[in-house]
Symmetry: C4
Subunit: 352 residues, 4 copies
Amino acid sequence: MKLINLFDYEQAAQSKMRASFFGYYAGGAGDEITLRENRTVFDSIKLRPRVLIDVSHRTLETTILGHPTALPVVIAPMALAKLAHRKGEVAIATAAKKAGIIHCLSTLSSTSLETVASVGAANWFQLYIYKERGITTRLIERAAAAGYKALVLTVDTAVVGVRENLLRTGFRPPRGVKAENFTEFYGAKAALRLPAQFSPIDFDSSLTWDDLKWLIANSSLPVLVKGVLRGDDAKRAIDCGVAGIIVSNHGGRQLDTAVAGIKALPEVVAAVGAQTEVLVDGGIRRGTDIVKALALGARAVLVGRPVLWGLAVSAQKGVEQIFDVLKRELDIAMALCGCSSVGEIGPDLITE
Amino acid sequence: MKLINLFDYEQAAQSKMRASFFGYYAGGAGDEITLRENRTVFDSIKLRPRVLIDVSHRTLETTILGHPTALPVVIAPMALAKLAHRKGEVAIATAAKKAGIIHCLSTLSSTSLETVASVGAANWFQLYIYKERGITTRLIERAAAAGYKALVLTVDTAVVGVRENLLRTGFRPPRGVKAENFTEFYGAKAALRLPAQFSPIDFDSSLTWDDLKWLIANSSLPVLVKGVLRGDDAKRAIDCGVAGIIVSNHGGRQLDTAVAGIKALPEVVAAVGAQTEVLVDGGIRRGTDIVKALALGARAVLVGRPVLWGLAVSAQKGVEQIFDVLKRELDIAMALCGCSSVGEIGPDLITE
Amino acid sequence: MKLINLFDYEQAAQSKMRASFFGYYAGGAGDEITLRENRTVFDSIKLRPRVLIDVSHRTLETTILGHPTALPVVIAPMALAKLAHRKGEVAIATAAKKAGIIHCLSTLSSTSLETVASVGAANWFQLYIYKERGITTRLIERAAAAGYKALVLTVDTAVVGVRENLLRTGFRPPRGVKAENFTEFYGAKAALRLPAQFSPIDFDSSLTWDDLKWLIANSSLPVLVKGVLRGDDAKRAIDCGVAGIIVSNHGGRQLDTAVAGIKALPEVVAAVGAQTEVLVDGGIRRGTDIVKALALGARAVLVGRPVLWGLAVSAQKGVEQIFDVLKRELDIAMALCGCSSVGEIGPDLITE
Amino acid sequence: MKLINLFDYEQAAQSKMRASFFGYYAGGAGDEITLRENRTVFDSIKLRPRVLIDVSHRTLETTILGHPTALPVVIAPMALAKLAHRKGEVAIATAAKKAGIIHCLSTLSSTSLETVASVGAANWFQLYIYKERGITTRLIERAAAAGYKALVLTVDTAVVGVRENLLRTGFRPPRGVKAENFTEFYGAKAALRLPAQFSPIDFDSSLTWDDLKWLIANSSLPVLVKGVLRGDDAKRAIDCGVAGIIVSNHGGRQLDTAVAGIKALPEVVAAVGAQTEVLVDGGIRRGTDIVKALALGARAVLVGRPVLWGLAVSAQKGVEQIFDVLKRELDIAMALCGCSSVGEIGPDLITE
């Protein structure tokens, strides 16, 4: 089978991976209504292409929080990449570096953040604030020391959403795949607690905007919040001093029937104003999806699962191919829309 | 098969129950358009979760008509629970008591209201006004004497809706399953007339608002009306002195293509004002459904068929599991929406 | 199989009838989009039932153009009923008489209008204006002489719509089934030309409103027009002096993708005002469909194909059963909507 | 199988053609969302037919840019007709001539424009502006010399859309099927490069409105632009001096999720005003589709793939049958809408 688009990679990954591992990545919360909605909303948005504009010199380059990127795509944080391939996050980061893309490492990575950093990609570090603040503080320090460029605080996990497929299959990561960033705190055994509880340590459901302020105050790195789906929350995050907003429903894995990110995006963009960079994720599989997100005000998008499908298919090379596909598709979509650069993508390109 | 959500219990019950008994509960009137709509409307409503709110101390407790309840869920009245399991209404009431939930017993219960009351749960008693007013008066007295806390008058049954599946299967309850509350009036044999006519005695299709006033005047217990789908009717019920309104289309079993309760809810809430408690039922299967109902103004919801599925699967224990599932799901949904208590669930959580 | 609703009768008829005959009745024009839309629109309209209204004394009786009818249902004109059963139109008319329903005979009946009239039902006569006006004049005279109560001029057949299934099956009526009203003009052989051309004689596609005036002037009987789908056309018909309007897309057999009658109804009702009686057909299969049509302003509905299904299943008795089903369903639907008579069915019962 | 409508011809062609050839024509870009939308939008538009208008003298004739045509249909430009049948474009042009229809020849025809012209049909010539302007200039000269009546500049191909099915099947035209108009420039071998790159020569993605002006200035023939989907672009084209606009998404083969032509049509018509003729293509398969396009302001429609299906089925005769079907369907649709001529088709015929 020729691997032409990201759906092909998903199918190929499914045939290569153990079913429960594939399901761990592919599944969503509850009835997976939000998971599906994330895709169908993109398909329902229609484009109004412009013609007869010189698009012979196209660039997909842009900056995100001032960091240059080869295309307006960031790798979304995803736990335990070694479930897809034993080379895990190192393969992803290496591919990201080669592609000139920002890589946002998950706190729950199966490779330590320091090892990932040694690859030399432009990395962000995603984290949670844990009940034991000391763990958070330590992770911040380690991320800064390792050269990460920004922190991404996930805020949509007051509790952990229920991915029922995990309960059905009794998913457990295999020996050797564990949340490596936590071995420092709990040892290898503790980190293995993850699959049962879906988290190596207890999330803190008492978090408030004050904790966000605390994080920003205690971090030398800029902080983005990920998991915002409302204009009022986004505005509040700005008031706390965040560097950027990531509109997200956690890939449909937290609150089922939560609104799709691309649906919530316009409200968030309107609330925060043009100064703040807003990113969005959830269901982005096509170059045209990226055009739509940018047309609705996003600075860039995050892409998650497809990166893992590429990883599963051919390790680093597979991940590079994912970026190649997205790059080629975005390039063509922009050309056909009459846009030479991402800055020219505007709301007039969109209709229902 | 692991029983994780209420749909799992439905499936498990179907495999355990005689087909015609399962069909008696599962079916709806006519083409079952309303039956399906009751579900699809919930799925189409999207949530706008709030983040970074301290939800570490959550409670699902509330009051309904002043009665405390562990969660905003009432067991809907359903006929002949012994069709699901020989322990019938006693098992349900016992589970309700254990879970701290209000149990609304059906007039057409297969256990006498006195026997059910002896369990000691917080019970409501659902009734109809019959042509022979004496029967109604007697039922009111018995319910009050047995310690029931409220009466629920079903008002959407001027005539009985046609569940065509019953006609197809020629459903008849087995020997020993009968409307026990009516043996006093008709003896065991009369109570067996039920399956043929879908009611042990003739409903009175001449009922008017005056009869509601008569009931209220003749009852020491507060009275709710169940089966209202319009704001004007709800207002009129308030003017008659009801203690609460239950927005309901009778689980899709009466008038096919009747509007879904959750669709009618906002109009009813607007009509009656904040003083009156409004409940809603029809298609509630997920914790997020409860959030949506409360966001649209309901004080609580009624859950019917799933209780019977739990009963069929493991008697009292199965019913308890149903409440456990709903409780866990509602708890998670509230946490993810940023709500520590049901009072914090508001209309801003909802979008299309 | 128990025959409970009209869909059951359709299925039973299909299993009894020769496929090409069933297809002749069941099919629609083109892609059958309008045929399907006629049904789906009804299903999508939702009802807002009223409660606690005395509906113990219900009547479905009404008048149409002053003629009393047992329920607001008229039998729609349909060609060649003998394809369904050899007793054909006589069985239908006899059942109509027994049920107290108006029977609109098709010009293309397989029994002569005089024979049908001899049954003694309340009959209307449907006709076209043909190129040879003499034929039309003669049919009018015959209908009046035979005691028909009204003429129904079908106006949506400037040309004949293409029912592709007929072309595929090469449908031809069997020996002995012919348009009997035309043997007077063409003899038995000419009347047999029908299947090839879908009409025994050429329709006149030059018809205008003046021809309608001519018909009205030359008829002692009141004239209704059938096939109007626009308010302006309905208004114009009124100005010509028609006694009533039948909103219809010819059962989806003429112009595919034409708007559904029930969708066009409100516009027509608004255009003609309360004085004129408006009827509607297309897709009416349930008692609730009748309620919806009346709520949107129809005086009555026409029901077509189901009558033929009943005829195919058990001749006259089958037709009577169709009316029994509709009567029972309408009665229940009205009771559950809080309506004791058809005059109480109003627009407030409807929502989307 | 009887070939009654255009879908029948598609099915018949599929069974006759090599799968990869059929796929070359039938496929669309990306997920083929626009390809499907092109059809579903037409099906969702509903007609409001007028009755009792004299339609006995109907004509489908009209003019397009002053050229008379037997019906408001133009043959859309399509590459390499010999893939469907070895008689290719000559068969199409001959059928067009016989039917009195304008034939728009593709630049990428598998027969030279001069050979096609020798048939004597009313031809338009579709072209691109290539990086080597000399090629374009030469094609213009040749088209004018060969008697073509207009040029159609395709403007929606800044780059070539990805038809993934071609990549999957590794489609290559067979020996002898090549872009004959380019043998002059590149020889037979160069013209064979087409299948790999989807174009015999590189498109110029630097084209702007100035190039359109250049083309108009350098052409003795009127110029239409094809591929406009926005009112502002259409207005700009008018300002450049085009003779007409063709609203098109390139049959869903360029930008997937681009808006359907019929959806964009009203905006374009409103932008350019009544003076300019606007054509539309994409998904037209039924006579009613043509009525809808004209009702929304189109002067005519272009029909593409069905012409190839006719060609594949029976060469010239098959193409003629396609026009016969469209002509018969349009004639019936107009009659049933109360329109004697295309000029009488107005927006009042349309509803949702």
